[in-house]
Amino acid sequence: MTISVLYDAPGPVARRRSAMTSVVGAVILIALTAWLISTLAAERTTAAGAVLPGLFDSSRWDIFADPVVWQSLGRGALNTLAMAAVAAVLALAIGVLFSFGRTARSRWIRFPVAVLLEFFRGMPVLLMMLFVLLVFSTGTYWAGVTALAVYNGAIIGEALRAGIRSLPAGQREAGLAIGLHPIRTRLIIEFPQAFRQMLPIIIAQLVVLLKDTSLAYIVGYSELLRTGQNLTNFFGNRYNFSFFFIVLAMYLVMNLILSWVARIVSRRTASRTRPAVVDATVTGPTGGRATAGKGSATPD
């Protein structure tokens, strides 16, 4: 629904008024930003009487001229990406397995898998990471990868199941009618269609996965945030803001690129198939439940 249908086409007075409000709002927002920046830039005196330089003081940023700093930040980013990439591949595989189990013909397979899925989806990823780390003592990297893969695999599995269910029944029947084994029907007829239909949701979930790699910071994996934190410890507290902002910017760049890809893909699939998926780039708070019912992308 476009909003313009809600009110009349604005006449000259209304247009002037809305332009005025817009300008006033912009001025207020700019003033707020300026106030924030000047507050951050101001020097502060701590309770102990020491004077801290403002956040934009050059003494807080001089180390970034050193390529070694950037090298270690780059290594941190690579660690993040390495965890995300491996976890993403595993999550897709686990998701496929889960979708098979969830749609199995035998109740003895279907029901336990459903319980397992509910269990994995309702639990914090962080708790899962801690569990894998302590129980299987895998080291932090594999703890992060396993937890992310299982959790996101459960969500991708549900998305795939919804995708399979939304296909016309004739697809499966046609496959069986030409003499294919049910598993081959699933693999070469139903699955490719379901996957394509659910691609936006799956990519959105991968954005969540990339974001969630930062949880491995808590179990001690030296990903991007931990690297920034280590560098702060090395160079001194003076640089804590500088490193935080750089790390934040790097995360934003990575996530925004992936979100942008997700948006392009969802627009493409939306134009090719029926407009089932609304806005799959709405990626939610640290994962969540993609209860992908008939093509509604939940904000997770």
């Binding site: 909003i3 249908v5 502060r44 269990f119 801690l130 790699t213 945030l225 939610g284 969540g288 209860t291």
Partner: protein, 215 residues
Amino acid sequence: MDAVIDNLPTFLSAFGGTLQLLALSGIGALVLGVIIAAMRISPVASLRAFATVYTEVLRNTPLTLALFFCATLLPYLQFNPGYFPLAVIGLTAYTSPFVAEAVRSGINGVPIGQAEAARSIGLPFGQVLLVIVLPQAVRMVIPPLINVLIALTKNTSVAGAFFVFELFAAGRTLANARGDAVIPILLGVAFFYLLVTVPLGLIAGRIEKKVAVLR
């Protein structure tokens, strides 16, 4: 198993901490999110731009970074109301864009014909919104909002890593103290999380089904 039963009081008080975090930041995120959503669909261009930037930036910030900022950098700026309020601030800020998106997509999900019909029988703007569009939008918005709350429940565990006493922090401490009973302790923690997330999920599913039938 005895490790869980012995520490049941700790578990329960930690669960209370989680519920407090969930309630406070949930309410905060709902209020803030609705305001952001209203800005996002308002006719004032500058508010719209602000809301868009706010949503995009916060939605693509990892939660760990948001809470890290609140727990370690805000005190450095001499803003230190204690770790619990800081965690609530972080969770609220992080969750609000998701609430905003859910609300906005709910309003956008009301078929255009509804608003057109309301306008064509002569209802003014306020009534179009209050009598026709919003009642339908609210119904569409509730399942995704519950999903946001489920995610928030799980996200409160991250606050446990930033000096707040709640389930995850309690589980980690207990697991460190009782190295022989790590599995039951962590499964106990998981049980309390599931106690919130699974019923919420069932409610969301039921409402979703009802709405689907109505349409």
